[in-house]
Symmetry: C2
Subunit: 480 residues, 2 copies
């Protein structure tokens, strides 16, 4: 076991902090609740951004940038919105050496200011749909901060769209949930359950909120991305209207959707193990690290030459490769260094490898001797992309199996209460409760309704809280 | 002349605003001094980011992210820094519904918070150099806002590096100035004069500030990028020290450097003309627009088929191509639409072109009949990249010629005063003045010392203000 990393079975929260510190992903800031994203952590976020940005553009969205500061009065315009966000706001009261006439809110999200602009830009049905996204920082005052998961300032993208009809807007909200689902599974190797939020859990100002819920290594849920059908709530507050084909004024139907740096926390907690981080190849800043093992019998220059050649070859194929040439530290130190950082493939080249014309590969996801293999030096360029793809697939499969093995059916509230305390995980339950039952659920079990999965069996059963017959199943879990 | 665009010869400031509005680059925000960057304007910024980010990484820098909020006390630690920035700060006094114990400053730049972290991360000479960059928003309260050029919030990158020696840090500051110079000339097609700032004009907290100065269409200067050698000023304020090879504590030597969304303003003002924007191909969100001209004799489906084929072929070659299929608007309307937006190449395909097996090209930088040419349909894929490269070169050459034609030698202050009022431009002058002479210069001529060019002749002459003999020449100009 790596030094300085708590066993996750013993204390998952401390393990999480240890991994973040030892892998140099983030550091805490002098301002309470804020964080610094260090280069290695930021590089993971860059991969996330790059991939999602491409998906957003492929689905017809353009990036734009809206201001950080929002007049306080804007937030107050949509009743549920202000109620939801008021306790979390950071407020600028002074600017340029003077007290401001109207305080400015540091954006917690941008529905209000974007609607203010939409009401100016949208005139006729020809201006629709309007499909925008922005990559930005947002601020929500956080009393119990946790690196990546809950920070006062965080980075995210927020998509904002306006449509002529409810149907179009609902389709868009679900399309973007699908984009998030595919990203989570294909790129982050995180299986997720797409579903709808209950009334109690939905976004402040939405008609319907959708979510993808992922299971962390300790069985807790992480809401990993959300997509909202906003109806005409903001359109009415900001008078965002268009003239339809019959020259009649109509409110636009809207959506908003976002994922944030919290995803980095999800990657850590889904894939990490007792030796630190494990990164799926598609998100790894370094996919292959080459560690030359000095021999002492004069092979060193030949080992270096081959190491460099392989590095250059892999780089030319866009495999993110690092050659660890540090002097004064042992190979074991280097192995540990890259293991903690979760690099998918470690490649060693030592005197014996040289003799046999091979390199030795240690995939991060299959530790120990049985994971090791050797491949001929000449086939490295051919094999590595396949190996990275295989690791990507294996990590998704492993995460899915873990999630499934910790997903339980539960028929009765008493049973659930006892079970979740001992076996954190996803609990599949019939549900017909309202906000009151949800409050009781949380109070007595610390769990919440994570989502109403989009996929339902069509069967019926008895609600674990009310006992009423229902055709709705939900996922219950403790959550970050 | 395009509708709704003022002639730049008549009123350059209004022309600038007109171009921004008509090309849909930006819009003003409900908060004074802030702006919204609209999708087309943001797409230009994305090209700028992409290219610079690659250059930063090639020179060994990593991206990271530091918090938006800085404790007020941090800003106060470096004397010149606080003096320079205090009047421009936005201050958060309330968070999470409570008044804060210590007000938080919204970052105007990040030297202070980064030094706070550097002092934690840097221990020995082995941790050096530390080469970081961040892409972020910053806030400096602006009394006279102008879209892209001066806004209360703007987007930028800020590089921050720490080195063991003065020499290394000075080399870094100049290396990054060179990166900016190459970017400006090779990508933005903007010729610049790299030079050093005078004492009066340098960054608050720097030992030496370097700049690239570009000439706008009205003869004014725009400071387009800066790079600072900070010495040990911030290291001393934050105790950023390292143990050298002899186990002795030393202060690190630092640099910082940045460019911002102001560059988009520079691109508009260097290249734009009476018909709107003109974009260098490397920055253009759309490099080629295809406008099919319907014939009415049954060729339409064939014209559409060829247009689509060419679009797909160009897209597959990574030429950013748009096929304008809008119905209900005339070709003339479309020409105007893309002309205002500065698309480098317009490609028409009409019945006569079809008959001759050609397409007609109109490069944005050579308006009218003489710019037009036809090329065979089959050679489009071969010719377009060459044509885009040619336009890129021509735009740089044209901008350079314009700058040179408006660069004047001046020997005497009276002469300068009369001349700059009539002929705005760059004035090449011998200079031996100090802050006092600079203040007088600005008061009497509205011009400032833009920079002391890095390239000096080695000759000597008489300072236009003091009459003293000097070997230093400077550039004088009015500036944004």
């Amino acid at each position: 076991m790596a030094r300085n990393i708590t066993n996750p079975e013993k204390d998952f929260a401390r393990w999480y902090q240890d991994v973040i510190r030892e892998a140099e992903l983030a550091d805490s800031a002098p301002v309470r609740g804020c964080m610094i994203i260090r280069p290695y952590g930021y590089a993971i976020w860059e991969r996330i951004k790059e991939d999602l940005d491409r998906r957003f553009k492929e689905t017809g969205h353009s990036n734009a940038y809206f201001p950080l500061f929002i007049p306080q009065s804007f937030i107050n315009k949509e009743a549920e919105h202000v109620e939801g966000f008021a306790p979390e706001l950071a407020v600028v009261t002074h600017g340029g050496g003077k007290e401001l006439d109207e305080p400015l809110v540091v954006r917690p999200t941008s529905e209000t200011i974007i609607n203010h602009m939409f009401s100016k830009w949208i005139n006729s049905y020809r201006d629709l749909p309007m499909l925008l996204n922005q990559w930005a920082n947002v601020v929500r005052w956080e009393m119990r901060p946790r690196a990546f998961l809950r920070t006062t300032e965080f980075l995210w993208q927020e998509g904002h769209t306006a449509h002529a009809t409810e149907e179009e807007a609902r389709t868009e909200a679900l399309r973007m949930l699908k984009v998030y689902t595919k990203f989570a599974e294909e790129v982050a190797a995180i299986p997720v359950i797409p579903g709808r939020k209950t009334e109690r859990e939905k976004f402040a100002g939405a008609v319907d909120s959708y979510t993808i819920e992922a299971m962390m290594g300790n069985g807790w849920a992480l809401q990993s991305g959300t997509s909202h059908y906003l109806g005409t709530n903001f359109a009415k507050a900001f008078n965002t209207v268009y003239l339809d084909g019959n020259n009649r004024q109509q409110y636009v139907h809207q959506t908003s959707w976002g994922v944030s740096t919290r995803l980095v926390g999800g990657v850590i907690m889904v894939h990490g193990d007792e030796n630190g981080l494990r990164l799926p190849p598609k998100l790894a800043p370094v996919q292959v690290v080459i560690v030359p093992i000095p021999g002492g019998n004069g092979e060193e220059s030949r080992i270096m030459e081959i190491s460099r050649r392989i590095r250059d070859e892999l780089l030319s194929m866009n495999v993110r490769t690092e050659l660890d040439l540090r002097e004064g530290v042992s190979p074991g130190f280097k192995f540990n260094h890259w293991e903690i950082r979760g690099v998918p493939v470690r490649m060693e080249i030592g005197p014996r490898d040289l003799e046999n014309g091979v390199v030795t590969l240690s995939p991060r996801n299959r530790p120990g001797r049985e994971g090791k293999s050797t491949i001929p030096i000449d086939s490295v360029a051919e094999k590595i992309p396949e190996i990275l793809q295989r690791i990507q697939r294996e990590m998704l499969r492993e995460a899915r199996e873990k999630m499934e093995s910790r997903t339980y059916e539960v028929k009765d509230f008493g049973e659930f209460k006892a079970s979740i305390a001992e076996k954190p995980g996803f609990y599949d339950a019939w549900w017909d409760g309202g906000p009151e039952e949800e409050a009781r659920l949380q109070e007595e079990t610390k769990a919440t309704v994570r989502c109403i999965p989009l996929e339902q069996s069509g069967e019926t059963g008895k609600c674990i809280m009310t006992g009423r017959k229902t055709n709705t199943k939900v996922i219950l879990a403790r959550a970050y």
